[in-house]
């Protein structure tokens, strides 16, 4: 486990290495891709990226929470949250397998 943190800059570098664009253009495209995904999710749409995974927007109902320190009950307002469901391809790659024998 390396434990490094990969950021936008690293993604831009990967785009730069793989596609024949300048570093500036590569960075702008990484930004554009992320911002399109964010916009779509902010509209409440799901973003489904095959062989990567899906980002799904869920509506949560109101519930009563509790401040764990003081024990005081507080209402938690209904809200929207986003969840990520990794694809089987991603799960397999993270576990060092390829998809050849994945029948799941």
């Amino acid at each position: 486990m390396a434990g490094r943190t990969v950021t936008r800059a690293d993604l831009a570098e990967a785009v730069y290495q793989k596609v024949g664009l300048s570093r500036t253009e590569s960075a702008a495209l990484v930004e554009a891709v992320l911002s399109e995904m964010c916009d779509s999710l902010a509209r409440g749409e799901m973003v489904k990226l095959s062989s990567f995974g899906s980002f799904i927007v869920r509506e949560k109902g109101e519930r009563i929470g509790r401040n764990p320190k003081t024990g005081v009950e507080v209402p938690i307002e209904p809200r929207r949250v986003m969840v990520f469901k990794p694809s089987n391809v991603m799960k397999a790659r993270i576990n060092g397998q390829d998809m050849a024998d994945e029948a799941e």
């Binding site: 943190t5 590569s26 495209l29 995904m37 973003v47 990520f84």
Partner: protein, 94 residues
């Protein structure tokens, strides 16, 4: 939105690029994220969220249909935590 729609939107914003290039760009980004996670790295994208990998211990599971005990091996699972700004955007206007 699916990947091809994402590619199309980005291609429309960048008429200097072929759709094919945009497809390669999107795949390069996603591939880099998966590669980082496979190495055990974290991927932090401010304003969007962060991906990391967690270890799940092995356990004895049960086939819910037959009740038969099955060994579940330890495995690594990717997790995503929504960023602060994204969390706010999801709830903007309510």
């Amino acid at each position: 939105m699916i990947k091809s729609e994402l590619v199309q939107t980005i291609a429309e914003q960048n008429p200097q690029l072929y759709q094919r290039d945009v497809e390669n760009i999107v795949n390069a980004i996603l591939d880099e994220i998966v590669k980082a996670l496979a190495r055990g790295d974290r991927v932090e994208l401010r304003g969007f969220g962060a991906f990391s990998v967690k270890q799940r211990d092995g356990r004895t599971g049960r086939n819910p249909r037959t009740g038969e005990a099955v060994k579940v091996d330890p495995k690594l699972v990717p997790v995503f935590k929504t960023g602060k700004e994204m969390r706010h955007r999801l709830n903007a206007g309510r």
